[in-house]
Symmetry: C2
Subunit: 120 residues, 2 copies
DNA sequence: TGAACAATTAACATATAGGTTAAATGAATG
DNA sequence: CATTCATTTAACCTATATGTTAATTGTTCA
């Protein structure tokens, strides 16, 4: 409960329909109408997906007469992109360290006997 | 249903507990035991989170005697990172194009009358 | 103004997520 | 070999996600 911005961003990106909608919007703004076209789901289902994207601040909607115009919020990917970039880099460094460590200490097979027995 | 790799990656990253586990693992491999420590949730709940991370290929688990050692799969962030990088870049270009377009055409207020009436 | 269209909300069904406690499994050890 | 510890599985609960159809809202225009 009480999801953060990053939570909502990643959750929004976890659905292929929503990623496809975003990909379409990257080519330019569009009406709900047109966004719905490629998908075999009902209009209310599309509205829900757009709500999710909007709550994640990934898109902005504005009324244009009878229609509703959707466009990307280009800043929204920032946080998620930074999280991933940082970790992608950090992880490989971490892996390199491990790799080096393994090369130095060839299978020490330390059996973790460093536990204190519990008195009772 | 039938989630793709990217679906699973983003879904796994959408939970703060799991991101914290990943952040811990970036500092080096750890036993389930230790991963669980910072969290006020039960051991089975941790196991479930680890299952999610493993299904998303973000971590690898291997038995080490009584324990189970967890470590990152550094390649796993690749796909998600690429998706985000690509779109983050593409989006801002898209935004620039829109911006330029708006500067050229100062509020045309085109009312979208290009619809064909449906005969019946 | 009323029919038609765009989009949303309401009400509902079902699946999945994420948590719990209790029981089971597998390894270490006195 | 019986006990303890680490971890998982089983069974269950509740909230949320994602879809549906029917009804509602707001806009256009003949």
């Amino acid at each position: 409960m009480n999801a953060t911005r990053l939570d909502r961003t990643f959750a929004a990106l976890a659905d292929p329909t929503r990623r496809a909608i975003l990909a379409r919007l990257a080519a330019g703004e569009a009406m709900v109408n047109e966004l719905a076209k490629p998908f075999a789901i009902s209009a209310p289902a599309i509205t829900r997906h757009l709500n999710v994207l909007e709550r994640a601040a990934l898109i902005v909607r504005e009324r244009d007469g009878q229609f509703r115009r959707c466009r990307l919020n280009p800043q929204a990917l920032q946080a998620a992109s930074e999280w991933l970039d940082f970790h992608a880099r950090f992880w490989s460094e971490s892996f390199d360290r491990l790799d080096e460590h393994l090369k130095k200490t060839i299978k020490p097979r330390k059996p973790h006997v460093d536990r204190k027995p519990k008195r009772r």
